[in-house]
């Protein structure tokens, strides 16, 4: 008999993991929904974020080095995104999806192996940030502070991004550029710039997700990006391509299912993720809250 005390923390862990994946999936989904680009290198951007935070902690001998690194990943990864979009990916707009997958797959190889070349292949451990090491009582059980923090921050950022895209004036410009580029252009919107910045935003979210996740991974290794990429795809497929709320819903569903499967039979936790994706694709190919890609 499995008691509730064992299940509840697992479910909570699942939700926490799911929110973090939803944060990454939001970036992936944004890029897909607005630019129509399916980005296989998204996981690599996540990995870059994690390695950047690690480097900050190692290099800077300051009290708040982890947090500084985390904040700095945002502009840094945005710049990486800007460069990628400007020099490479903008050529892929409107191309067959197969070539987008192929080119971003090439990018994944280059980034991943580049990191392996610089940082080596041995796992690089990153401890919890100071004063976030302990546990906090949540009534029924005690829960690690840092995990709780990532959950709250993740939810806040996803909500902020959703509000920005769906409710703000700038968001309206982004949506307009995605839905009807011709009309947007005649209204004086520079769609080229809009696409570039949207890609940068998506990249920054990936980097931030990597930085946030880094202390929980145990040891950083260069293939972490590809593992996370697969999970992100599953989240996006479950929730619906191009939908931010869908990414959050997909992430939480995936996290809970994964956590619960882990309680009963640990090796099944990865299996159920793929099974969930397969079922959703069969029954509702556009995902739970999906809308078709607009471009």
């Amino acid at each position: 008999m499995i008691n509730i005390d064992a299940i509840l923390p697992q479910v909570f862990n699942g939700i926490q993991f799911g929110v973090l994946m939803a944060l990454l999936a939001t970036g992936l989904s944004l890029i897909f929904g607005m630019l129509g680009i399916i980005n296989f290198a998204h996981g690599s951007l996540y990995m870059l974020g994690a390695y950047f935070v690690w480097t900050c902690v190692q290099m800077l001998d300051l009290p708040g080095n982890f947090w500084l690194g985390l904040v700095l990943t945002l502009p840094l990864m945005a710049v990486v995104g800007l460069v990628l979009e400007r020099f490479l990916l903008h050529r892929m707009y409107g191309q067959p999806v197969v070539y987008q997958i192929l080119i971003t797959f090439g990018l994944l190889l280059v980034i991943q192996q580049g990191v392996a070349l610089i940082y080596g292949t041995t796992p690089l451990p990153l401890g919890m940030p100071p004063s976030f090491e302990g546990e906090i009582s949540l009534g029924l059980f005690r829960y690690p502070v840092y995990r709780l923090f990532t959950m709250v921050l993740g939810l806040a950022i996803i909500s902020a991004v959703w509000f920005f895209i769906e409710r703000s004036a700038l968001g309206a410009i982004i949506r307009a550029s995605a839905e009807d580029p011709e009309t947007a252009k005649t209204l004086g919107i520079n769609t080229r710039t809009v696409y570039t910045w949207t890609f940068a935003l998506g990249s920054a979210l990936a980097g931030l997700g990597g930085g946030l996740h880094a202390p929980l991974i145990g040891g950083l290794q260069h293939p972490i990006g590809t593992e996370i990429l697969l999970i992100c795809f599953i989240v996006v497929v479950i929730g619906g391509m191009g939908s931010i709320r869908g990414a959050l819903l997909g992430g939480i569903i995936l996290g809970v299912v994964r956590g619960l499967a882990g309680v009963f039979w640990a090796p099944a936790s990865d299996f159920v993720m793929f099974a969930a994706m397969g079922i959703i694709l069969m029954v509702r190919p556009q995902g739970l809250l999906g809308r078709e890609a607009t471009r």
Binding site: L102, I103, L108, Q112, Q113, L117, G120, T226, F271
Partner: protein
């Protein structure tokens, strides 16, 4: 009936001549290559790449599941050879059949959608199979893989050939490669192949004429799966070891790279691609800086990006274009 036989005989001889030429070119290549192991490996890796090209180049489906079907063939043959000591040919047939069965199931779910969804589904299936291989330690050896595969005498009743020497094994692989290559060549020229290509261009039009795209895609997927399985069984014999990394999606990615490098729209592209890939891997790994941490993949990735951006037809397409420019002048 007689006429049909006559026709098939004619076709057979029409293929026999280029097959002999191909063999005549490929046999001496064995002696040119720097490492003798490399020769068989190039041919073996070209076999699943052929399957990948059938799907992407002729049917328009980007398959990220090649690696897992390859691994299914390799594991089936490997387990049979290492633990049950079966006949080599029987192990090969079993591997092919097993991959066929898996690809029937996989294909059924994957071919319902084209484009992105197909790619993601095959990727998910690929990881599922990898995951099963990784977890099922008692049967597949898990992370340790299958050891003790022996490449010994191939007993054909009247006579027997020792497959241990690399040259003998190379010829053994070459026979399979040429058979598959010319089978696919015929398949593409056949009405079935024409339907596949028609669907690649416009699925709507193919449906309007009365073809069921799903059935055709499914059959193409299964044929691809059988071929991948064959490649896998030969690979198990080649390495005398099978590891779980074969099933990982990075192996699928390697076949993707090979096909794109060589040329996605023509069958010889598979051979060119796998040749260039393996040669490049060998060459780049000679530099100490690059062999560390698999950084040669970085160079390969960069080349791959350039190919996808500027040379969609791969090396084959590039040479073709250059030749045409030259002739026009």
């Amino acid at each position: 009936m007689k006429k049909a036989l006559e026709g098939s005989r004619k076709r057979f001889f029409a293929e026999l001549f280029p097959a002999i030429i191909m063999a005549a070119i490929l046999v001496p290549i064995y002696f040119i290559l720097p490492s003798k192991m490399m020769a068989s490996e190039i041919l073996i890796m070209a076999i699943p790449t052929l399957a990948f090209i059938l799907l992407l180049g002729y049917t328009g489906l980007l398959n990220f599941g090649t690696g897992s079907l390859f691994a299914v063939g390799a594991y089936t043959a490997g387990i049979l050879l290492a633990r049950h000591n079966v006949h080599v040919l029987l192990a090969i047939i079993a591997g092919v059949v097993m991959s066929g069965i898996i690809s029937i199931i996989m294909g059924y779910f994957c071919i319902k959608r084209g484009g992105l969804i197909f790619a993601l589904l095959t990727l998910a299936f690929n990881q599922l199979i990898w995951f099963i291989i990784w977890q099922w330690k008692s049967f597949t050896g898990g992370p340790d893989g299958i050891w003790g595969i022996k490449r010994e005498a191939l007993n054909l009743g009247i006579f027997s050939i020792n497959l241990k020497p690399t040259f003998n094994f190379y010829i053994f692989v070459l026979i399979f490669f040429i058979l598959i290559f010319f089978f696919l060549r015929r398949l593409i020229e056949s009405p079935f192949g024409k339907v596949l290509m028609g669907m690649r261009e416009s699925e709507l039009r193919a449906t309007a004429i009365g073809y069921n795209p799903e059935t055709y895609k499914w059959i193409a997927f299964i044929i691809g799966g059988l071929i991948c399985g064959l490649g896998g069984t030969l690979f198990a014999l080649h390495q005398e070891y099978v590891g779980e990394h074969l099933a990982n999606w990075f192996t699928s990615g390697e076949f993707v790279i090979m096909a794109l490098l060589g040329g996605t729209f023509v069958l010889p592209g598979a051979l060119i691609g796998s040749g260039v890939f393996i040669f490049l891997a060998d060459f780049l790994n000679r530099f100490a800086v690059l062999s560390k941490a698999g950084a040669w993949l970085l160079v390969l990735g960069a080349i791959f990006i350039v190919v996808v951006m500027f040379l969609r037809g791969g090396i084959y397409g590039g040479v073709e274009k250059a030749y045409e420019l030259f002739r026009r002048k």
